[in-house]
């Protein structure tokens, strides 16, 4: 059990370092709290954002915390792959630079697995190969499909009722 866990931990840590650096140009990594009692202790996610000192992920900013969580999830997904993924507004607290970088990473991954993202940000939607527009009309949801992000003109509210 110990060896299986450590093997997964090391692979996740390796992936996390790559992903975190791709998004932030800084470094992120995992540390085990107590090597002698792994199953009774925790795991720290450490960060060093560009131009800053190393800091535990619990005391960084709101957007920086989102980056840490995304790097952790994407690393776990890389080690335990699935044919398709869904992300619902994970970019809500990200600025345009970080949300753009996230979209780049997801676009890259979408060669191997299908990635479906729900987003309200134009710079993220623009990087998708296929866009689905949803809007409300007469009390129920309707769907519009676009070949590419450029065609978007979603009716905010069709004539109600």
């Amino acid at each position: 059990k110990h060896r299986v866990f450590m093997d997964a931990f090391e692979r996740i840590d390796r992936e996390l370092r790559v992903i975190f650096n791709k998004i932030t140009e800084g470094s992120g990594w995992l540390e085990i709290e107590n090597q002698d009692a792994i199953f009774d202790s925790g795991i720290f996610l450490m960060t060093q954002f560009p131009g800053k000192l190393p800091r535990d992920s619990s005391s960084v900013s709101g957007g920086e915390k989102t980056i840490c969580a995304l790097s952790f999830i994407l690393a776990i997904q890389a080690v335990f792959p699935s044919p398709f993924y869904v992300f619902d507004e994970v970019d809500a607290h990200l600025d345009s630079k970080y949300s753009g970088k996230l979209a780049d990473i997801l676009a890259e991954r979408s060669d191997r697995s299908q990635i479906i993202i729900v987003s309200l940000k134009d710079n993220v939607i623009a990087k998708a190969s296929n866009v689905i527009g949803v809007y409300m009309s007469q009390g129920s949801s309707r769907i519009l499909r676009y070949r590419s992000a450029m065609e978007i003109e979603i009716p905010n509210e069709q004539p109600q009722q």
Binding site: F84, V86, D111, N130, S140, I154
Partner: protein, 166 residues
């Protein structure tokens, strides 16, 4: 394997009539105004994959999944979702290029599952999905708001998350 189409009828805001949402391979974005039905589309996918928790599907109880958005029309008697997968790589252990899973929930809370049109048991389906690594065992679907909860996990919870995956 990838998702090619989501078909719903009577599921949450997605309407009483049949609604067909084609999905492409690669990187797909869903967008639209607040309250338009984006997260309900995600809930529809989880529902068809076997999700049974009303809390995860954001309803007080499962029968509240049935569309109730219109005054004129009669409330439908059931909510149905079908997912059509492209299976040309045979990752779902079934010998056919296209696999359709569907789940119909009746007003009495009972669910009927079917695979390529034939009734099947819920367990058969979840085993099949587990094999193809599709089952939403937690991290292939990140629901709205979940990212801030993951960001605030304490060290012990991060360890448990990895333990759960092995």
């Amino acid at each position: 394997v990838y998702l090619r189409k989501v078909e719903t009828r009577g599921f949450k805001s997605l309407g009483a009539k049949l609604l067909s949402t084609p999905v492409e391979k690669g990187f797909v974005a869903i967008t639209g105004p607040n309250g338009s039905g984006k997260s309900n589309l995600v809930d529809a996918i989880l529902f068809a994959l076997g999700e049974n928790s009303a809390k995860t599907l954001r309803v007080p109880n499962l029968s509240a999944l049935i569309y109730d958005g219109s005054v004129e029309e009669q409330k439908p008697s059931s909510a149905k979702v079908s997912l059509q997968f492209d299976n040309s790589d045979r990752r779902i252990p079934i010998d056919s290029d296209s696999v359709t899973l569907s789940r119909e929930l009746k007003q009495n809370g009972e669910s009927i599952y079917s695979l390529n049109g034939k009734h099947t048991q819920r367990n058969t389906l979840s085993d099949l999905l587990e094999n193809a690594l599709i089952a939403s065992r937690g991290l292939n679907v990140v629901l709205q708001g979940m990212i801030t909860r993951i960001a605030d996990l304490v060290p012990d919870e991060k360890r448990k998350l990895i333990e759960q995956m092995v």
